[in-house]
Amino acid sequence: MIPFALAAALALCAPAAQTSSITLTFDTDVDTGAIMVALYDQATYTGGQPVRAVRIDVAAGERAAIFEGLPTGDYAVKAFHDVNGNGRMDANPFGMPTEPYAFSNNAVGNMGPAGWDRARFSVDGATAQTIRIR
């Protein structure tokens, strides 16, 4: 019975778990540079490496990122718009970001990056979000 149950569980869950996807569309103010998008799960959101990352070539007209084949679960996104294409997130002389950044759910933090509780969203099947990055 145990092998059967395991097989059944795998049959029921595993294929479904790998079919989720996220489509992120970014609403920008400027048409230059690129948007760097990082996708996290709860374990990696604070200080870890993203589970996926992608570069959206805004200058070439791209505005969307698609992450496919994701396990069903909760995710959150951090993104910044490298407007001048210098490969980093620029800051003013007092250290505050001067290039647009955003989080999933269009979440805003509280004197820091938006926390997992504000940025998390559930992914089960095909999921889409529009993120304002200004």
């Binding site: 003013n92 970001p97 933090g109």
Partner: protein, 488 residues
């Protein structure tokens, strides 16, 4: 049990502690009943559509045409939580338009991210100068906490609502509609642009913004376009609300209220260390690396007058000097509570003199004062007159009149409305076709507490003692504003 003497004494002591004395009753009433000055920090629930004011005294001065813009906090309280400090209410931009002898009043709230968030949540949640805020705050950048509530600068057909921790907020000068935060250069986005820009004789504008001991020095065209911006390191990380300037120098008064620790609200970052004294840093406008440091006795301050340099190199400017930061921390909190006794002493108008030999001294006018302003024709140049609000004293926390200090004669020329009025900052408006310092009007609103309405007054700078030459009355009371600017 037989009551012993000891039991009796203990019981008597307990009884006397429980029974209210007349002093306690009076104190309790003072705490519970709205203070007579409470209109100064009352909430305005919405914008004020343009409306005519009624002339109730005197005659409209011929030739006085223009707009007095004023900014100040207009709403502090929401069902889910309040701003608890006078400096943290939502910015309310007001315009008093003087045209053909008539006055029209309008007022609109600055439509900031802070106000939008707090309207949605029905709670004040954003930390500020003295308001702690809470975990519901949404602050992705300093401008998300920008109350746009402190001062106003006119640039062309815009007015910029200023707040010391963030960007100017552009509003349409005609409609007071909010536009956008101003970024003077992309790499300087979000750099603070404080509430007290200084206007130079060459027509350009200087301003500053601070972060610890770092200060950005802004230099702008009159149009608001950026000429240059540089970052300096100050010798001390003081709380700095205002700086001043001569035609050749920038002047930073470094009070002994110094950065001590990170945290919010902002004012908790600073500690009052009177043993440090007050320093004055003078910086050459043409070479920001050329500086000179002066030492003065301890005082605290928010506001300075325009400075000037004399032929021999002596530099002078006025300051509304206080003995310590009690009002800034505690007094401004009680003002929003709207009841009780406001702690802190009134500030006193004093003249700082920086001598060429490196010595500095402080001369008191002996007059209580705030919001010192001078003739705009002489900004950065030698002058003798300073207009300021006056009449503030212990037990009555806000000013009730206006005064002109003549530093040449040492005389103060004052007018008091009495305690039925709260006087607001006056702007100095030159009379057309004149050049003498006294040839000016002083234009300022007040809150008439007896009538429960806002009034607008025009004084003749040469005869302040005689009271206003004209007064118009609104049918609404606006909470007290902080700072204004005149657009002729």
């Amino acid at each position: 049990m037989t009551p012993s003497r000891r039991h009796f004494l203990m019981g008597a002591a307990a009884l006397s502690a429980a029974v209210a004395t007349p002093e306690k009753v009076r104190a309790a009433i003072a705490r519970e009943v709205a203070a007579p000055w409470a209109l100064a920090t009352a909430d305005l629930e919405g914008d004020i559509a343009p409306r005519a004011l009624r002339l109730i005294h005197g005659r409209a001065p011929s030739g006085l045409e223009g707009v007095l813009f004023r900014n100040g906090p207009g709403k502090f309280r929401r069902p889910g939580g309040n701003a608890t400090h006078w400096f943290d209410g939502d910015g309310l931009m007001r315009s008093f338009t003087l045209s053909d002898g008539d006055v029209t009043l309008a007022a609109r709230f600055a439509d900031t991210p802070k106000r939008r968030t707090e309207t949605e949540l029905d709670a004040v949640v954003t930390p500020g100068f003295g308001t702690p805020g809470d975990s519901r705050a949404r602050i992705g950048s300093n401008d998300d906490a920008n109350a746009a509530n402190t001062a106003v600068m006119v640039t062309g057909d815009k007015v910029w609502a200023l707040w010391e921790g963030g960007s100017p907020l552009a509003m349409d000068a005609a409609t007071l509609a909010t536009e956008t935060f101003v970024t003077l250069r992309p790499d300087l986005k979000g750099m603070p642009f404080q509430a007290h820009p200084r206007f130079a004789p060459d027509g350009t504008i200087w301003n500053v913004g601070t972060n610890g001991d770092q200060v950005i020095v802004w230099h702008l065209q009159a149009s608001g376009a950026l000429i240059d911006a540089r970052v300096l390191t100050l010798p001390r990380a003081s709380y700095l609300h205002d700086f001043t300037a001569t035609d050749r120098h920038l002047i930073f008064v470094l009070q002994p209220w110094v950065f001590d620790r990170a945290g919010m609200p902002f004012s908790t970052q600073f500690s009052w260390k009177p043993e440090l004294g007050t320093q004055v840093l003078v910086v050459d406008k043409t070479d920001l690396t050329r500086t000179r440091l002066y030492e003065l006795e301890t005082f605290s301050f928010f506001h300075l007058g325009d400075a000037w340099a004399e032929v021999d190199g002596t530099i002078r400017f006025d300051v509304a000097a206080n003995v310590d930061n009690t009002f800034a921390v505690e007094g401004a909190r009680v003002l929003v509570a709207g009841r009780g006794v406001v702690p802190g002493e009134p500030s006193m108008l004093k003249l700082v003199t920086l001598h060429p030999n490196g010595r500095a001294d402080l001369t008191s006018s002996g007059v209580t004062a705030e919001f010192p302003k001078g003739d705009p024709r002489r900004a950065g140049l030698e002058r003798s007159l300073t207009v300021h609000v006056a009449g503030e004293r212990g037990g009555r926390p806000l000013p009730n009149g206006l005064a002109v200090q003549d530093w040449k004669t040492g005389r103060s020329h004052a007018f008091s409305f009495g305690d039925d009025q709260i006087m607001e900052e006056a702007v100095f408006v030159p009379k057309p076709g004149t050049s003498a310092e006294r040839d000016a009007w002083l234009v300022a609103p007040s809150i008439n507490l007896a009538e429960g309405v806002t009034e607008l007054h025009v004084f003749d700078a040469a005869a302040v003692e005689g009271g206003p030459v004209a007064t118009w009355r609104a049918d609404v009371a606006l909470p007290a504003g902080f700072h204004g600017a005149w657009k002729g």
